[in-house]
């Protein structure tokens, strides 16, 4: 195809262009023509189409996400908020921490290993871009039924891909989730979180300012990978036979990324960049337009200078390529020599591809001809915005009205059988088959990882300052009530930080939903965002960033609304943290918080194929009192473990198995409800008997109820008269996943 230039575009206004094939709607194409006052050149069309895709432009979600700003609680800790590659939080002692979660759902369905691997690679670059050293990753995952053939295909590949990439980067994996549900069949969710740390004065932003400064592309060469991949793929509905479009898959090169990280950190340490942006979805289109748009607007790029892996690529393809492991920096001319030197030391490919200019246009040339001449803000930040129709779906009232009909164990034999059944179900079973494929020790700062409630990383060896992170979502509650579901996930993540003794500080989120063109899905989304924004305001936790993944559906069946909420907290001395389990016999176990009949949306209900009833209503004031109690009482807790999926039964089983120390429990409430209900806002703690009074005082000060459950010790989990030997419990808990996937 002959080169289409701006000059040609001006003289051939009526030439037909394949905008629809590139995912643009007629009115969007018309708007581009209005912005430019002519038809776009083919390169401009390529840029607009990827940048205005759902994935890059947030066109369906923007109007809702605004609430995170509008309802933002005041927070002294927030150093960089939404809008940059990742938010940055002050954790004290001059340290800043940045964290963000992102989805790579669709690519991971197409090619599980590479899809998941490049998902990790992408989020790590977002964190690096902020100026931070990445220090850990997490991976909340969702799959179809554990025994479905497609799950057997995708799960091992996804797990190996996350491990393969993260391990090779030397990033400890400190947590995640693995949940099975039929709605994810054919549409697994691969969300990846990365956290990084830097000093306050090292924060970097994505902006190109200062005319005459150089635009520098460094890292991998550009190839034909995933042209239109992430953006188009993540913006397409899957047909029942697989993805509608099958773009070439991106292959990750973690070694190149590891070297890129070290090289970038050395460049940052010498203060050699004015602005920096990673190349992710939409590749150079995104990086150049966002950098220019973040600065004063003027930039000139000579596309011929981009180093290519495949010399036959056209300029449109170069602009859209999503080749991994690339970064784009803005560098003052006086600093370029040193910049190039550091790249040489690390053997990193580097090229000056352009410069910042005085004007307000992004101009890209190819063999001397101008192929792009656009106002960069219109590409990067002023894309289309949709107020999509939304309507409460018909199912909501219907399922909310359903009355659950569940077996309620009462005899000792029934209780024992129920606990063993629950603890061996794929969702509740031990996940070490997965997590043992992840390096958790590298960097030597991991304080907590799976199966603890949260991951915890030491960030200063001398002061013992640390951060903790948890990610949570209860998609069934979100299905029953998306507004409450979002708040409940937020509360759970915050609680999971606090059980360890860390103070919640900030929130990130990954909103995984079906098609935004379905008003019912859009309603779920809107309710979720409203719930999360209200919840964050009430709890005083700012949303620092996140990601939206739409079109997660197979045919017309959408996944459960799955808002994965990540909460980051700070702990002053990691040596003082509270672990999830006890090593000693003779401790007293208490339940903090009330248990109501909350079986709707529970694991027990799911195991009996029931997804009806009403989700619990989040009581965030109670959650905050519980968090305060946990933080204040930290010194008396020998162990603290959150109650969530699987209720008290699962929490107790996990605690006794962790160090092989049993417990004897006496329950006075109706035993099925006591064990299986999933009422939020509850924690089991272990204390020395001599601290009973201190706990009672804490409880009354914070207006939280506590109930003594029993004592630790022995080689069984005994609940009233049901005796479950630890060996039996362990076999039930640990055999499920290896049997399915080993």
């Amino acid at each position: 195809m002959a080169l289409d230039t701006v000059a040609i575009a001006t003289t051939t206004p009526d030439q037909e262009q394949p905008f629809a094939a590139l995912g643009l709607k007629p009115d969007e194409y018309q708007r581009i023509r209005e912005i430019l006052g002519r038809r776009p050149s083919s390169s401009e069309l390529a840029m607009y189409s990827v940048m205005w895709s759902e994935h890059c432009s947030y066109k369906s979600s923007k109007v809702h996400l605004k609430q995170f700003g509008d309802k933002a609680p005041h927070s002294d800790a927030l150093l960089v908020g939404i809008g940059e590659n990742a938010g940055v939080v002050d954790v004290g002692q001059g340290y800043a921490v940045t964290f963000k979660i992102e989805s790579h759902n669709h690519p991971s369905f197409v090619e599980p290993y590479q899809g998941a691997a490049t998902g990790v690679g992408g989020i790590v670059r977002d964190i690096l871009t902020m100026g931070a050293r990445p220090i850990a990753v997490m991976d909340p995952l969702r799959f179809g039924p554990a025994d479905a053939p497609d799950t057997r295909r995708v799960l091992p590949g996804i797990v190996a891909g996350i491990g393969g990439y993260g391990n090779c980067l030397g990033l400890p994996n400190i947590g995640g989730e693995i949940i099975f549900d039929e709605t994810y069949a054919g549409n697994p969710l691969v969300n990846a979180l990365c956290v990084g740390v830097m000093r306050h004065d090292q924060i970097k932003l994505a902006k190109a300012s200062g005319a005459g400064n150089l635009v520098v592309l460094f890292g991998a060469q550009t190839g034909g990978d995933g042209i239109g991949g992430v953006s188009v793929l993540a913006s397409e509905t899957f047909g029942s036979t697989g993805p509608a479009k099958r773009p070439s898959v991106q292959v990750g090169d973690p070694f190149t990324e590891k070297v890129l990280i070290e090289c970038s950190l050395e460049i940052f340490a010498e203060d050699l960049v004015v602005g920096i942006q990673d190349l992710g979805g939409a590749g150079l289109s995104c990086a150049t337009s966002e950098l220019a748009s973040g600065g004063s607007g003027g930039m000139r790029v000579e596309l011929d200078t981009v180093p290519l892996r495949d010399p036959s690529l056209s300029p449109e393809e170069i602009l859209m390529s999503e080749s991994q492991e690339r970064m784009c920096a803005i560098v003052e001319p006086s600093k370029i020599a040193r910049f190039l030197e550091i790249c040489k030391k690390w053997d990193v490919t580097v090229n000056v591809i352009g410069e910042v200019t005085d004007g307000d246009r992004l101009i890209i040339t190819w063999h001397g001809e101008t192929i792009v001449d656009v106002p960069p803000r219109t590409v990067a930040h002023e894309g289309p915005v949709y107020n999509r129709p939304l309507a409460k779906p018909e199912y909501v009232d219907r399922v909310n009205a359903q009355v659950l009909d569940l077996p309620m164990p009462s005899t000792a034999a029934e209780v024992k059988a129920a606990v063993l059944k629950l603890i061996s179900s794929p969702n509740m079973a031990d996940k070490s088959w997965v997590t043992s494929q992840y390096d958790k020790y590298v960097q030597g700062n991991t304080i907590q990882s799976q199966p603890e409630d949260s991951g915890m990383i030491r960030i200063d060896e001398s002061t013992h300052l640390g951060v903790a992170i948890s990610t949570d979502a209860n998609a069934t509650w979100s299905y029953l009530n998306p507004y409450e579901g979002a708040k409940l996930a937020l509360a759970e993540a915050a609680r999971n930080i606090a059980t360890a003794g860390a103070k919640p500080l900030a929130v990130t989120n990954c909103l995984n939903f079906g098609s935004p063109e379905d008003p019912g899905v859009m309603w779920q989304f809107a309710e979720t965002v409203r719930g999360l924004a209200d919840g964050c305001l009430e709890m005083g936790l700012p949303v620092t960033g996140g990601n939206v993944s739409f079109y997660n559906q197979t045919g017309d069946v959408a996944i459960l609304p799955t808002p994965v909420i990540g909460v980051l907290g700070v702990i002053q001395d990691v040596r003082e943290r509270t672990p999830m389990s006890f090593t000693d016999a003779g401790l007293d176990l208490y339940l903090i918080g009330d248990t109501k009949n909350d079986l709707a949306g529970s694991e027990w209900a799911y195991m009996h194929n029931q997804r009806g009833g009403q989700s619990p209503i989040a009581d965030l004031q109670a959650e905050m009192r519980l968090i305060e109690l946990l933080l204040e009482g930290q010194s008396i807790f020998a162990a603290a473990h959150d109650l969530s999926q699987g209720g008290l039964a699962v929490t107790l089983a996990e605690m006794v198995l962790h160090h092989d120390v049993g417990a004897t429990i006496t329950l006075t409430q109706e035993i099925a409800v006591a064990l299986l209900s999933e009422t939020p806002g509850r924690v089991v703690v272990a204390i020395s008997p001599s601290d009973a009074e201190a706990l009672a005082t804490l409880a009354s000060n914070h207006n939280v109820s506590v109930t003594q459950l029993g004592t630790t010790g022995g080689s069984s989990l005994t609940i009233n008269d049901a005796v479950i030997p630890l060996d039996e419990l362990r076999i039930a808990h640990t055999q499920t996943i290896p049997k399915l996937f080993g």
């Binding site: 491990g163 391990n167 090779c168 070694f255 590891k258 590298v442 304080i447």
Partner: protein, 223 residues
């Protein structure tokens, strides 16, 4: 005592190894793969990681780094060298140690606290252990299965050159449960599991790995 830690492109556990050296009472000196100068160190540790991505075979490319030329020369003259995980792989590829490390029998990367038994305390890296001690340190690798031919295996066993052995189920298919070996002279040691991640129970499973880093001081200064 100055102990050098080599950083190759893709090394991951170099900082952790340096921390462990300091915890063991010595000074850690950073060495760079592209610099043949050993900066006067008394001993060298080749740390874990994925040098050059471990794309071809683990350690196959690193073996040719300029720094390795100097290390091979000094090792042959008796300088203590410890290769951990990827470092062990590099030592085998360099032929400082016999055998090779191949893909785990389970085909997966495996990260787990692993019990090993120390069987040779005469090397400068294992001197501070009690013969037969069972310790728990992390094992984490994808290619940790020690393989060699029968005569080599017989030689290693008869000369007491197996310095550590896995206890319990074979985690990766290594012949004779071998977790670590030494050269004929006893100064070069390769170890698959990671003692540098077991110097403090706060961040590792135990502090059992510390003697690997204190031994060098006892041997070279203490005696």
């Amino acid at each position: 005592m100055k102990v050098g830690v080599v950083t190759f492109p893709g090394s991951l556990d170099d900082r952790d190894a340096a921390r462990a050296i300091r915890a063991g009472g010595s000074e850690a000196i950073a060495l760079w793969h592209d610099d043949a100068d050993l900066h006067g160190v008394d001993a060298v540790i080749l740390p874990g990681g994925f040098s050059y991505g471990d794309y071809l075979r683990c350690g196959a490319i690193s073996r040719f780094a300029p720094v390795m030329g100097s290390i091979i020369e000094k090792a042959n003259a008796g300088m203590p060298v410890l290769g951990i995980c990827n470092g062990f792989q590099i030592l085998c590829e360099s032929h400082l140690l016999p055998g090779a490390l191949t893909q785990n029998q389970g085909l997966h990367f495996l990260c787990t606290p692993q019990t090993i038994k120390i069987e040779n305390t005469s090397t400068p890296w294992t001197h501070d252990f009690i013969q037969g001690a069972e310790i728990v340190i992390p094992l984490k690798n994808g290619e940790g299965s020690f393989q060699c031919d029968d005569p080599t295996l017989a030689m290693l066993e008869s000369e007491g050159r197996v310095i550590a052995r896995y206890v319990g189920e074979n985690p990766n298919g290594s012949r004779n449960l071998i977790a670590g070996i030494t050269n004929a002279r006893g100064n070069v040691v390769g170890l698959m599991p990671h003692p540098e991640h077991a110097i403090d129970p706060l961040t590792g499973p135990t502090a059992d790995g510390l003697p690997f880093f204190s031994s060098i001081l006892s041997v070279m200064v203490g005696k």
